[in-house]
Symmetry: C2
Subunit: 186 residues, 2 copies
Amino acid sequence: MLAKLPGLGPRSARRAALHLLKRRDSVMAPLARLLDEAAAAVTTCSVCGTLDSTDPCAVCADPGRDTTQICVVEEVGDLWALERAGAFKGRYHVLGGVLSALDGIGPEELNIARLVARAGEDGCREVILALSATVDGQTTAHYIAERLASLGVSVTRLAHGVPVGGELDYLDDGTLSAALRARRPV
Amino acid sequence: MLAKLPGLGPRSARRAALHLLKRRDSVMAPLARLLDEAAAAVTTCSVCGTLDSTDPCAVCADPGRDTTQICVVEEVGDLWALERAGAFKGRYHVLGGVLSALDGIGPEELNIARLVARAGEDGCREVILALSATVDGQTTAHYIAERLASLGVSVTRLAHGVPVGGELDYLDDGTLSAALRARRPV
């Protein structure tokens, strides 16, 4: 079972299992109890689709957050990344993945219908598509933008360009071209 | 001498030297001749400061390039990266580094005076600062923008944001914040 976790292969899973077995009282029992508690407590937010111990989640329930903006992310990990950066004060919507013909992921497999409903509610003014700059991510962004086109909300996407700390010589051609096209006044 | 090349340590330099010595006729002599020829032929372009076998360089001498735009880069390698991307059709200016108080690099050590002169010439309308998104790179960009402020040319910088192919979860906080601030309509 441990070998099925992402980042663990059969060999490292055996090492982890042995590590646990040697520390049955100090590590293994507390870990088992915590996993059990977390599995029972964590639920999917019925508003945005993130994982939290409350429903609605802490972000959706927070009256201090800007309700005019919805930031659409692929996975819960992306929501955590944006919260870590502290750059966004609105609410989120977790798709649960991206459209992928190859993996058979269509619009029905993603949390898109609920997003369209939320974007159509009173008070929503902007939907920010914070999806990966990959082919599947951008396909999904265009699909969602089309679905939202008739609602009268503004649909935006993250800027593409040079990452902070990035040196030109190490960047790929696509990023360089995008950064040059989207250049801004100093 | 080989060990002084970037990317080679004493051990790999010894390996490279042995490799050459074993192939004196097929590799070592031709390499020596090419290095000799290149050292004699390559010169610094008196217009933009890049390295080429002609002066002015091939880009500066090309009548098909847009003369209204000057793209400022740190090093010749950055110019090559932008040419590889094929995204820019104007001319370049190579600074030869960035301002760095720590390394004692001031404005006089860089090719800045020549840039101010070029930007002041008739026909120049935009200076694009394609410098690294590092602290030194941005300090240099601001210094140059101030020096050019009175000339009436527009001064722009590359966009910051998500690199093409980038996934949100792997980005640093600064890039995420910049990408969110500079978001654009889909």
